[in-house]
């Protein structure tokens, strides 16, 4: 099965440099300090934030910065084949650790010494780009919770097929193991790369192309996220000014 047809379209009808339909919403849970839901194509993620609050465990209290707890879990019905464990398996723990480090560098942690922020992201439907959706959802939820950050963290995947780069890879495209898969996360304003993870082999000559494509994908996503956050603030302002 070809990933890119002779007419230049992918299996779901997108062009190689097109991201999937992106929809997001802030403040979906009523009692969380911050929450966000987003859909990247058929991948659906829900993030919730609790904090910053007093660090519970004395061992976790850091006198100069906030402690970040991250939990990544995939609902058992999120994948085509049912998963047995939503979290606690090695992969989830590895991802949670990775996410914790990413957000540690973007959140202004020295503003909240001795506190703790709990971030929980649940993948409700997995159709490729799960880690990207996780990062994007967590960013939006942190914005909703009013946690100060240096910038948004926008994430996107990219791959190389027959020397052509494609971005925002979905599940069926990901399953082609021979193609490299790059997961990238950047701080959009400065274009600084905060996560760069590559699977499979890639010739060094193509690295620049695939990175550029990934950065462009992240920036496209940033535009949509930024717009949604602005709308959210405007709506809140409108209500507050009316009362």
């Amino acid at each position: 099965m070809e990933i890119i047809s002779p007419e230049g379209l992918r299996i779901d009808g997108r062009r190689p440099e097109e991201i999937r339909r992106f929809n997001c919403r802030l403040g979906v849970l009523s009692r969380a300090d911050g929450s966000a839901y987003l859909e990247q194509g058929n991948t659906k993620a829900l993030a919730s934030i609790n904090g910053p609050h007093q660090a519970g465990d004395k061992a976790k209290i850091k006198h100069d910065r906030v402690h970040i707890n991250f939990q990544y879990s995939m609902a058992t019905f999120s994948t085509n084949e049912r998963r047995n464990r939503p979290k606690g398996d090695k992969r989830s723990i590895d991802i949670s650790q990775l996410m914790r480090e990413i957000f540690q560098s973007a959140i202004l942690t020295d503003l909240y010494p001795k506190s703790q922020i709990d971030i929980h992201v649940q993948i409700l439907q997995a159709d490729g780009g799960n880690y990207s959706a996780c990062i994007n959802a967590a960013t939006l939820a942190l914005m909703d919770a009013g946690v100060p950050m240096k910038d948004f963290i926008c994430s996107c995947t990219a791959s190389l097929v027959d020397s052509k780069t494609i971005i925002d890879v979905n599940n069926s495209e990901e399953l082609h193991f021979s193609n490299p898969l790059l997961t990238l996360a950047i701080l959009p304003t400065s274009e600084e790369i905060i996560l760069c993870q590559m699977k499979s082999r890639l010739h060094a000559d193509h690295l620049e192309d695939i990175l550029k494509a990934g950065i462009k994908g992240c920036k496209d996503i940033y535009e949509i996220m930024h717009r949604e956050v602005l709308n959210h603030v405007r709506e809140a302002a409108a209500v507050m000014n009316a009362t």
Binding site: D33, K114, V233
Partner: protein, 236 residues
Amino acid sequence: MTIFHSCRGHGTYLQDNKLKASVAGFVEKVGKLICVKPVKSRYNGEVGDVVVGIITEVGQRRWKVDTYSRLDSLLMLSAVNLPGGELRRRSEKDELMMRQHLTEGDLISAEVQSVHGDGSLALHTRSLKYGKLIQGTLVTVAPALIKRCKTHFHNLECGASIILGNNGYIWISPLLKEDAENQTTKSDTSTLEREIVARLRNCIMALAERQMLLYDTSITYTYEASLNYQVSQHKK
């Protein structure tokens, strides 16, 4: 924006000599001070604020209080009125009696005395209007929805009293009677008073869900509008 003409306030940070916003919210400019206030956040206490708190821990000469801030607030033994209204130094006996005065789970109304360096708040209840809250209901909303007013203690015309804590914790209770100091745990709230309290609770939650500012007038108007419906028919 460069740093020459403005000062950095909350919600902003400096990068390469440029002032940037670190949260998504409203820009507030007070003279040269620029702050960005997020739409929603945990309570950031200021001296003089009235708060409603829940005791979480009884410790050495102080209580730890949950005020929905990023760190637990502290209520020192020296900052409460002794039963009987005496004025003296706190002795060891007072330390042992701490738990009898306030224990875990108790609700108090207090004022922010000072803000420590790390951001935690020191509370005091050294006034007759502050103290333990016994009969009533607690409602929690986002702190940003509480409008700053001259007073946060209101005896509403509908027949109940509310305390709008700046930290988003709101206490609704039946109208305090004359000898309010001697409130015991014995119940003497009639069904009518209870319905008023329940109605107020539902009104406040409805306003909060719609992100509307909470103050005595907005709550009273909503209450009057809700009189068309029975309490048990309310959505929540």
